[in-house]
Assembly symmetry: C2
Homo-oligomer: 214 residues x 2
DNA sequence: TAGATTGTTAATCGATTAACAATC
DNA sequence: TAGATTGTTAATCGATTAACAATC
């Protein structure tokens, strides 16, 4: 069925379009041209039109784009029009922070379970959801139609847990462990490597300093 | 003084090189060729050599790269050889999780202060560091040689706080608020947009599903 | 109809990969 | 010296920008 492959660069930008369109929508803006949007987003109008046309013609010559329509359509492309159940694996600081964040529900991500290895956390609830032990993970995923697992565990455990997940019907892993997971292609992975992000900031700070010392 | 500008693509990859070299070092590996490393990292050897040569010749013909030396040098490039003081602004779930994470110290990032607007948090301590009120932020930054601010506040407050920071001698902002900050170029920004990352995962899950339904 | 703005083709730019001479 | 592997130039590939005909 091979439709033309969309580049990672384009995919990477979609959520940002979605965010800007959501804000325009909140502000009651009904339509917007690629040129207007380009000024707000600090990208070229050409790039916006090219990006959107990967997915079809959402605009109208002489008019621009209908904000509400475009927002909805990009939402569909991103898969935000359906609900997806997810679990958090690793109830440490970061896992608990994510569990406490209610905003995901608004985008259709429904937290169904939290897992950890620490027996002292067993039964402790976060937003009404009890922390379960890892032994129950596999069965839980199969029985509760879980599509996404958030991995907030130490890197030493990550490969093993990821492999266990690959043996279930999980579809995607949001990986916060500072390591690269190697999994069959039917399990997609999105990494959030915080340490690497902080290093990039450090590089920029360092570089700016260098350039402006005399 | 205009040295040739290093591309964002290259900068983005440096922390990952640093991580792999750190692991090799832990495993007692003394030297590695671009070809060996390329297999481990799943990138081309050519890209590794090109990337590194942006910063100088770290290798030796016929030998490869000395792991310890290369690790140290990339650390220097990333500015990890010096300590930097930072503050966390916003002591919500995410802010507290980051404050609790001791790993940053190992990379030279020293948490000096935590700030919030909620008076009920005043004086509460995390890892021995008391939460302070926002009124004290500016003075604290100036007096404690703070170089980096971590922004874990709601997007409605982000622009205002960022502007306040720009009026201090802060050098970099690690921005977790889901909005784009527009600041003078002497304040560098690195964004962590978690919601966008989750949407990219959602896109991949959605797209994989589509391609494999019949 | 005239004006505006898209969708899309062509041109440009930059990043990645391949190739190989230099050299340890 | 022979073998290995870098550093670097050249070739290729892909992404971005520019331009404009199509069309609302």
């Amino acid at each position: 069925m091979e439709e033309r492959e969309i580049s990672q660069a384009v995919i990477g930008r979609l959520p940002r379009y979605y965010r800007y369109l959501g804000e325009l929508l909140s502000n009651g803006v009904e339509r917007i041209s690629s040129s207007d949007l380009s000024k707000r987003m600090h990208v070229t109008a050409s790039q916006i039109r090219q990006d959107l046309n990967n997915f079809g013609g959402f605009g109208q010559q002489g008019y621009g784009y209908n904000v509400k329509y475009l927002h909805t359509e990009i939402g569909k492309i991103l898969g935000l029009n359906v609900n997806r159940n997810f679990v958090i694996i690793g109830a440490g600081n970061l896992g608990q922070a994510l569990a406490n964040y209610a905003g995901f529900e608004r985008s259709g991500f429904i937290l169904k379970g939290i897992f950890d290895v620490n027996p002292r956390l067993e039964g402790v609830s976060i937003r009404g959801i009890p922390i379960r032990m890892m032994d129950d993970l596999k069965a839980f995923i199969m029985e509760n139609n879980i599509e996404i697992a958030v991995l907030t565990i130490p890197k030493t455990k990550a490969a093993e847990v990821a492999q266990m997940l690959a043996d279930t019907n999980i579809k995607g892993i949001w990986n916060f462990a500072p390591t690269d997971l190697h999994l069959p292609k039917e399990v997609v992975v999105e990494n959030v490597h915080l340490a690497e992000s902080l290093m990039r900031l450090s590089y920029k700070v360092e570089r700016y300093n260098e350039e402006h010392m005399e």
